[in-house]
């Protein structure tokens, strides 16, 4: 195992914040490969929910319901499956990523980080790590889910765009909420409470976009509108968090 080098000897000024962020990212990846805290939490959680959803929805297979124009449509349709996939990813993100800052506080390494890099670098590094982990998890979970529930991808480019932008935005929300929660005493409850308003908006935006995967449309605006929403919400959260992060980090 290689040692992770910090800029401890020469102070923090000889490295740009990007280098510092990358160093933190490498350190987190290394720590993750050793302990597998985030992956373990997310993996067990996702697999359990995956199995639960697959079993719970067996009863809905082949059931038809009438929609508002009187046509019979399957009750357990692609949009419904997509919604549950996002619920699953959302909980997985919050189960796994909540540890990213708590871990630093618990092991007492938060002060070390504060000494050696600026708050921007810490935020960028953690965001990069969380996004990578969540992308990896969703890369494993999504195909499994699609096989187990028989979910269609619909319009393929749209599907990939939704999954990618949705996962990135989700990790941006989870990162800033994790940072907030790590500073509080009762981390668990606060995590949910603070995250809820941000998460609700994000999930509504994602559901909109997900529905569009299964609607054929000629105009590109129909596809772009919900996607822009997700991406811009992610940008909004990242910008705000980057601006305000040092108030959380250096109290």
């Amino acid at each position: 195992m290689g040692r992770v080098r910090y800029s401890c000897c020469n102070g923090m000024n000889d490295q740009t914040w990007i280098q510092q962020a990358l160093a933190l990212f490498r350190k987190d990846i290394l720590a993750e490969t050793r302990t597998r805290v985030a992956f373990g939490a997310m993996g067990v959680f996702s697999f359990a929910s995956l199995l639960l959803i697959a079993l719970a929805m067996v009863g809905l297979k082949g059931v038809l319901i009438q929609n508002s124009s009187g046509q019979a449509v399957p009750a357990w349709n692609n949009s419904g499956k997509m919604s549950l996939l996002w619920v699953l990813l959302c909980f997985a993100a919050f189960a796994g990523l909540s540890h990213s800052f708590v871990y630093e506080e618990e092991t007492g390494t938060a002060s070390t980080l504060k000494l050696h890099m600026g708050p921007q670098a810490v935020y960028a590094g953690k965001l990069l790590f969380n996004t990578t982990v969540l992308l990896a998890v969703s890369l494993v979970i999504t195909p499994m889910y699609m096989v187990m529930t028989g979910m269609d991808a619909g319009t393929l480019p749209m599907f990939f765009a939704v999954m990618l932008s949705g996962t990135a935005s989700l990790s941006a929300v989870a990162t800033v909420v994790a940072a907030l929660a790590a500073r509080a005493r009762s981390t668990g409850a606060l995590f949910g409470a603070v995250g809820l308003p941000m998460l609700t908006v994000l999930l509504v935006l994602i559901m909109n976009a997900a529905r569009q995967c299964y609607i054929r449309s000629e105009s590109a605006v129909q596809y772009l509108r919900p996607l822009t929403g997700i991406v811009c919400f992610g940008v909004l959260i990242v910008t705000l968090s980057a601006m305000l992060f040092h108030y959380i980090w250096e109290d």
Binding site: Q66, S69, G70, L205, M207, N208, R225, G229, T239
Partner: protein, 142 residues
């Protein structure tokens, strides 16, 4: 003010604008019948239930009734779903659905979601006007 803050504020306001733009598509606007004719997609129309016209249509498999909005325009509502408990006594309702034109040119609101207003216990005796604030909570429902 330093430059990075200004850049950040510009980014934030732009991103917020686009987010609102995308988010607004998930809201169902409250409109009257006249406006609803011009819109495609989901709308929500609030108005008085014409109880004498309400009946169950076996052919359409729906609860059919006429709805009179505040401009006294009439629209037929085909409500696909279980009849709300308070429907028979409810003076008003807000029906959500898609407005379609039948082959004979009649407007039909194909609805699958409806909020009925509870009859007021007090307004009849005291002769107060029904206040509509009870319905405002349901406004702009996601």
């Amino acid at each position: 003010m330093n430059r990075s803050v200004i850049v950040a504020l510009i980014v934030i306001s732009t991103a917020m604008g686009f987010t609102m733009w995308a988010f607004s598509s998930s809201m169902t606007p409250y409109v009257d019948i006249h406006q609803a004719e011009k819109l495609t997609g989901q709308v929500q129309i609030r108005g008085k239930i014409m109880h004498s016209t309400a009946h169950w249509s076996d052919r359409k498999h729906a609860l059919v009734f006429m709805l009179k909005d505040k401009n006294n325009d009439l629209v037929e509502v085909d409500y696909h779903g279980a009849k709300p408990e308070a429907f028979d006594t409810a003076p008003e309702t807000a029906a959500q659905g898609v407005l379609t034109k039948a082959s004979d040119g009649k407007l039909i609101l194909n609805s699958d979601s409806m909020v009925v207003k509870c009859p007021s216990k007090y307004s009849d005796k005291k002769g107060l006007k029904n206040d509509t604030s009870a319905n405002s909570a349901a406004e702009n429902r996601i």
